[in-house]
């Protein structure tokens, strides 16, 4: 093969990435636009155009788009990106195809911290006259969630440590820890305010229902920080996939980058959880889909995973709203119904590598 063919093949790889990205971006935009016209109150695409371009008195339908549907779709998009990239980082960092913020108990730990913070805020400041929940300032919630996520991640790593990290053991310890923490969350919720079963189940399932620009704002700072770090993280992350010793002899200070990567992953998870609750399995499924689409190049994987995560979350939210109108199925339930079978397929296919 001549040097020219070489160059062609390389261009082929770039081309495949470019085409995939273009198609995914179009899909993402189409989905977000589509989701604006959908719901109890009917709205046309012309309404969306008005909302986006003009700053004037809005009709009720336009108001619905501006205040409810658009923030919801945007939130879904950002949350999807967060979970997908967190999943990709965890899978590369731990060299474990089963890793995911939900599977490893990070989401649950973050949720518990948030729930406890609500409890604390209410015992401190609640007005007994009014039946209304009080919250910490919304910008602080991601930090609270981060602490919870770090603690549960540390617990799971410690539990599964047995002369090294076995991927299957890690997943099992994570799933059980997640189950326990979810039970604890319910204990806390029931213990302090019975009769909120519906809110509890909605929140624990992960939902985009009833969230607004405020949640989006609290999260965007984290998205920006991640976008800044990720280009630099791509190569170290790629090297970490080769194993500790090998990565180090290729010139990577492994310890530092492991901590950086873990912090980015847990920070992305924690901020997403504090905005939308623990939406499970997005982080597990998306990197595998991305790898099928464009192969194993880490820089490409990051971009494509982010887009696929966005499409998956906005898409499942749309399906959940469309399936049993006027009822709504939370995103987290649908992602679990899709994600668990995928988890099992990955588990069965990688058995030789996992144990």
């Amino acid at each position: 093969m001549s040097a020219r063919d070489d160059a062609d093949a390389q261009i082929g790889d770039q081309l495949r990435f470019a085409v995939t990205t273009a198609v995914l971006i179009s899909c993402a935009i189409a989905l977000i636009v589509l989701s604006q016209g959908f719901g109890a109150a009917s709205a046309s695409f012309a309404d969306l155009w008005v909302v986006l371009t003009r700053d004037e008195a809005l009709t009720p339908a336009q108001q619905v788009i501006a205040d409810i549907r658009l923030p919801r779709a945007l939130l879904g998009a950002v949350v999807g990106v967060h979970f997908a990239i967190a999943g990709l980082i965890m899978q590369s960092l731990l060299r474990n195809p089963l890793a995911d913020p939900g599977v490893l108990g990070v989401s649950s730990g973050a949720s518990l911290a948030v729930v406890i913070s609500i409890l604390v805020a209410n015992t401190l400041w609640a007005d007994p006259e009014r039946f209304e929940l009080v919250y910490f300032p919304s910008a602080s919630i991601p930090f609270i969630a981060l602490v919870g996520g770090l603690c549960s991640a540390a617990l799971v790593l410690w539990m599964s440590w047995d002369r090294g990290l076995n991927p299957q053991r890690m997943a099992l310890a994570g799933v059980v820890t997640g189950t326990i923490i979810n039970a604890l969350i319910l204990v806390v919720i029931v213990g302090f305010g019975a009769g909120r079963a519906e809110m509890a189940i909605l929140w624990l399932a992960g939902t985009l229902f009833g969230r607004g620009y405020e949640n989006l704002q609290a999260m965007l700072g984290w998205t920006m920080a991640a976008l800044f770090i990720l280009p630099a993280l791509a190569r170290p992350l790629s090297l970490l996939r080769f194993g500790e010793d090998f990565a180090r002899t290729m010139g990577l200070p492994v310890g530092i980058w492991r901590v950086v990567a873990a912090l980015v992953a847990i920070g992305l998870t924690a901020s997403a959880v504090s905005a939308a609750g623990p939406i499970g399995f997005v982080g597990l499924v998306v990197p595998h889909i991305a790898r099928l689409l464009i192969g194993g190049n880490m820089a490409h994987l990051i971009v494509v995973s982010a887009l696929v995560g966005l499409i998956l979350t906005v898409g499942t939210d749309l399906v959940g709203r469309a399936l049993f109108v006027p009822l709504e199925i939370p995103v987290g339930i649908i992602t679990s119904l899709i994600g668990v079978p995928v988890f099992l397929v990955i588990l069965q296919r990688n058995l030789w590598r996992l144990s």
């Binding site: 093969m1 040097a3 070489d6 093949a9 390389q10 082929g12 790889d13 590369s92 280009p231 630099a232 190569r235 170290p236 790629s238 090297l239 996939r241 080769f242 194993g243 010793d245 090998f246 180090r248 002899t249 290729m250 010139g251 990577l252 200070p253 492994v254 790898r291 192969g295 194993g296 190049n297």
Partner: protein, 272 residues
């Protein structure tokens, strides 16, 4: 460029595996470490790479303790190929080899033309140019090993350390790989340090052979000096016949195992 060990003791969780070694390696040479299973060969290799801090004693590369080197600078001096590396899924041969450039790249910067040239060169030297855009997982065992060597070459280090580079390969590929390493050493001035299982590979392809037994250095010298019937008995507990062979103007010993020291065949008579 040289690697000095002084009273080096290495081990895991306080238990020494390699004890009190002192030596000096000229890393432009081709050096082989041999010894029986569990003698501490791989532990020594990890220590020399700075992956395992010494329990006592010191290792110095060019006069500076190996632990003080930062990973990047060290990677430009010494590359390493582990015994059974696992490739991440979905990468082509070229993409795998590109990882070798990490120590020469800055974090936010994209790949440069120079990077691409060096990767192409590494692929050419290992004879993989025609397979560059194949999926790594579709390669045969021998081709994969060449791919890993290309990765080490792309690192442009002065020396490459190998942990048993020929395990899991058939005889033809074993010799093919050993020959490639020899050529890299002679034609491209890349120093080679390898842990070897096969004594004859060491004798044939290394300038200097170091023998380890129970964590101690028991022989050090060129092939004919080290590979002797007496040492084979000490190292592996086998009786051997040593023949001198000649190839390319070089004389080297070849060791033919006859059996364990107290083999049943030792006594001519059948036990009654």
């Amino acid at each position: 460029m040289s690697l000095h060990a002084t009273n080096l003791t290495l081990g895991y969780s306080g238990r020494p595996v390699v004890r009190d070694l002192s030596f000096s390696f000229d890393l432009r040479q081709s050096i082989a470490i041999i010894g029986p299973n569990g003698c501490g060969k791989s532990t020594l290799l990890r220590g020399l790479l700075g992956l395992l801090p010494p329990l006592s004693g010191s290792i110095e590369l060019d006069g500076k303790a190996i632990g003080k080197w930062n990973a990047r600078a060290l990677a430009r001096r010494i590359a390493f190929l582990p015994q059974s590396p696992v490739a991440p899924e979905g990468l082509t041969v070229r993409q795998i080899v590109e990882h070798g450039r990490f120590a020469h790249q800055s974090l936010w910067a994209p790949q440069t033309k120079e990077d691409r040239r060096i990767v192409g060169e590494a692929l050419a030297r290992t004879g993989l140019s025609h397979l560059a855009d194949r999926q790594f997982s579709t390669l045969s065992g021998g081709e994969r090993q060449r791919g890993w060597i290309a990765l080490a070459l792309a690192q442009r280090a002065d020396a490459v350390f190998f942990d048993e580079p020929t395990t899991f390969l058939d005889l033809g590929h074993q010799l093919d790989i050993m020959d490639l390493l020899r050529r890299l050493n002679l034609d491209h001035d890349i120093g080679i340090l390898m842990v070897l299982h096969d004594v004859n590979h060491a004798a044939c392809y290394a300038d200097r052979v170091v023998a380890l037994h129970s964590g101690r250095l028991i022989a050090d010298g060129n092939g004919p000096e080290v590979i002797t019937a007496g040492l084979m008995a000490d190292l592996f507990g086998v009786r051997t016949e040593i023949q001198m062979l000649e190839a390319g103007g070089r004389r080297y010993p070849h060791c033919i195992p006859l059996g364990p020291e107290n083999h049943a065949g030792n006594s001519a008579e059948r036990p009654q």
